[in-house]
């Protein structure tokens, strides 16, 4: 997914991202790439991708193993807030070697801009990804201006 943005036509950009990812891993606390003020360090839960088309904004939450009913999604003045809890049962009779998966409460916020229509939101959950679709207001859509 999103590989299209990194396709061969953009191989220089591709290389740049690969280098940045390596640097982030080396330095340990790489800030999320977009530089948004609410962006969180790499590895935050849930990871979020946002795409935009002329008609809508789509938000993807990478939230595996969640009960979608327990996810709280709200939008206010273009700021989308997601909060919830992922409970991971720990087996007391087992010996643990790795516990890398996120457990506990989470909260993330992401600014979608002013032009999303808060009244027209749909959300679906599939294969551990929550897809939230928000319509953009007509007035905000790019229009083709005809020249006579």
């Amino acid at each position: 997914m999103f590989g299209r943005f990194l396709s061969s036509q953009n191989s220089l950009l591709d290389e740049f991202w690969r280098l940045q990812q390596e640097m982030d891993e080396l330095l340990g606390d790489g800030a999320s790439s977009s530089g948004g003020i609410r962006s969180l360090p790499r590895g935050s839960f849930p990871a979020i991708n946002v795409i935009q088309t002329p008609e809508e904004v789509q938000v993807y939450l990478f939230a595996p193993g969640l009960d979608p009913k327990k996810l709280d999604v709200s939008i206010e003045q273009g700021l989308l807030t997601i909060s919830g809890e992922r409970q991971i049962r720990v087996d007391d009779n087992s010996t643990y070697y790795r516990q890398e998966r996120f457990a506990g409460e989470f909260r993330r916020a992401i600014s979608l801009g002013e032009d999303v229509d808060a009244e027209r939101i749909t959300a679906t959950y599939r294969d551990g990804i929550v897809q939230i679709r928000l319509h953009r207001r007509e007035s905000a859509r790019p229009r083709q201006i005809e020249i006579h």
Binding site: F5, L6, S33, T53, N93, Y97, E100, R101, G128, I129
Partner: protein
């Protein structure tokens, strides 16, 4: 004894099998995992959101367990990325297994983007309680 396998069970393998090799520049997501064991089996749980069953590959190659999956979905035309925490589509991890694990009986289950792999231990190698005789 269960403790014999502890270091081995969770050690990551640097080996990549030929099937795993992708084009060199492809980014790979290091799937976060929980690994634990009880007296009967070793469990591996991996977060792989966006991977459906038909795009998941769990295999034991010799003594290496390889977990690999590719997420897939269709982006609409004219889409531009506004924000992307995830910039790759391929998940992969591999681990070196230890001998007492009965890999023939490995079971894998995928639900809501969470993969659970259970590898039972060979019955003869499970820990036994030794009764201590006292006077």
């Amino acid at each position: 004894m269960a403790t014999n396998s502890t270091q081995v069970a969770g050690r990551e393998s640097p080996i990549a099998t030929p099937q795993q090799r992708e084009r060199p520049s492809e980014l790979v997501i290091r799937t976060p995992v929980d690994i634990f064991e009880n007296s009967d089996s070793l469990m591996l749980i991996a977060d792989m959101p966006g991977v459906s069953k038909d795009r998941l590959d769990v295999r034991v190659d010799g003594t290496t367990l390889v977990v690999q999956g590719r997420m897939q979905f269709d982006l609409p035309e004219k889409a531009v990325a506004l924000h992307a925490d995830i910039r790759a589509a391929l998940y992969r991890r591999s681990f070196v297994l230890s001998r007492e694990l009965d890999t023939e009986k490995t079971e894998a289950n995928l639900k809501d983007g969470v993969l659970t792999v259970q590898i039972p231990k060979r019955a003869s190698l499970r820990p036994r309680k030794i009764e201590v005789q006292g006077s």
